[in-house]
Amino acid sequence: MAQVEVSHLHKVFEGESRTVTALDDVSFEASGHTFVSLVGPSGCGKSTLLNILAGVEHATSGRAEILDGGRRARLGYVFQSPRLLPWRTVLDNMMFVQPDQGAEHRERAEHYLEMVGLSDTRKAWPGQLSGGMQQRVGIARAFSIEPDALLMDEPFSHLDAITARTLRRELHALWMETRKTVLFVTHDVFEAVELSDRIIILAKGGSLRQNLTIDLPYPRDPSDDRVALTKTEVLRQFEDLDLVAS
């Protein structure tokens, strides 16, 4: 079971003439099969937080790690853009990130490709797929290494609304089946309410303002009254914060 631990995390970027505080004393925890959304306006450091957890960036001070039984957890990462190797086939892209290239892992890769409905594309080049399809491959890729935890950085923000809705449903189905710990960054409050158990709201300047638990049962139908109410409530909290923030 993966454990997310963020403790007094600080991240400061030194520019040519000014310093920018991306994260300001952020602390939270998440464990087990929780879907956590990080929500906030642009410039609130949510992507930076994800990058630090993934090891792509370093914290200025404080601690941020994802552990699984004491050791560093294996992570899957879905980016805003699919980040597929354009010169390798879809299946080769899936195999690229596997810990080894044996038959067992190959079957696993094919299995997850099928779960997102893209088995037919396994020999295709990424350039032959639409943006939505490429992103689905990216999601399948992240799941296929059977990680301890998943990090997702606004994976649907570059897609049109209809494709985004489809992929959101697919992601949810995948998550329900595998029940991993997920850290999901988004600027879309409604998306967060539909998908997550927990919503963490960051304000501009990188401070953590709210740590909410969403206690609605799955699946969450957008037309359900309780879901709509929760959305309004969270949105209100979100907007209140914006007024207070500098």
Binding site: G15, E16, S17
Partner: protein, 278 residues
């Protein structure tokens, strides 16, 4: 004065020097110094008839400057270059525009252009020397032949890249044709024109110098080949230095800050702009 603990036996001054030497700025100086030092060390081992000593080359370099033929030689070369280039531009621009406008003409001329771009200048030099003997005509013709394909290709590219959307916009406002040409077409063609000039000049120069070896009795190419004919090794290297000097001068002076072609691969100095909040 505070007493400092000597933690190492190496004097601080040395450490500072080594540190300075490893900075990128020092690298620009280290390279030529290294070349000259190696040259100085290796030359006596090989034998000075084949490999001149740096000091001999320097002497020859200065002698040439004082004696004066080097200046007139390059001057003659530049005049030939100018004439050939002017011809290449006049004809090349017209042909290039034509090819850009008509895909059929372009298909027709395509392979000629490829051949024109790859045909060695050496052969042209020899051919014109057999046609014209020694004089100005041969070298000037070679300049033309070397430069014109580049002018044509660049102007054709310029036409193909014409901003159709801007032209349509101007037409939709019923702008008079002359104004459209002056304010939309000409500016959009100008970077291609400069590229045509630059590539035409660079290649015309290479062709010229080679042609002068075979088809002239004056000019920079003829002089340096002459140095080799009489076995004056220091002379050849000294002339090579003059070539380098003039080549850089032409690039820098004539094209100034537009000479990105040679320098574009160098990293630009960071813009001294205020940090913009993206």
């Amino acid at each position: 004065m505070q007493a400092t603990l000597e933690t190492s036996r190496v004097p601080a001054a040395w450490i500072r020097i080594v540190h300075l030497l490893t900075t990128p700025r020092a690298a620009r100086l280290t390279a030529p110094i290294l070349i000259i030092v190696t040259w100085q060390l290796v030359a006596p081992l090989i034998g000075s008839t084949l490999l001149p000593m740096p000091i001999d080359v320097l002497e020859e370099f200065i002698d040439l400057a004082i004696e004066g033929t080097v200046w007139s030689a390059f001057a003659i070369s530049f005049v030939r270059l100018g004439i050939g280039l002017a011809l290449a531009v006049v004809i090349g621009v017209v042909v290039g525009l034509l090819l850009g406008l008509s895909p059929r003409a372009e298909a027709f001329a395509h392979d000629f252009l490829v051949i024109g771009l790859t045909f060695p200048y050496l052969i042209w030099g020899i051919i014109v020397s057999m046609w014209f003997g020694f004089g100005d005509a041969g070298p000037i013709l070679v300049v033309f032949i070397a430069a014109v394909p580049y002018v044509i290709v660049n102007m054709a590219e310029g036409v193909r890249d014409a901003p159709r959307d801007l032209i349509d916009m101007a037409r939709s406002y019923d702008a008079p044709r002359l104004r459209v040409i002056r304010q939309v077409v000409v500016p959009s063609l100008s970077p291609f024109f400069f590229a045509a000039l630059r590539y035409g000049l660079a290649n015309g120069w290479k062709g010229l110098v080679l042609a002068e070896v075979f088809a002239a009795t004056s000019g920079a190419g003829w002089e340096i080949a002459g140095m080799r004919d009489i076995g004056n090794a220091s002379g050849v290297v000294a002339y090579a230095l003059y070539f380098a000097f003039f080549s850089i001068l032409v690039e820098r002076l004539v094209f100034g800050r537009l000479s990105d072609w040679v320098f574009r691969w160098r990293p630009r100095r960071p813009e001294a702009a205020r940090a913009v909040n993206a």
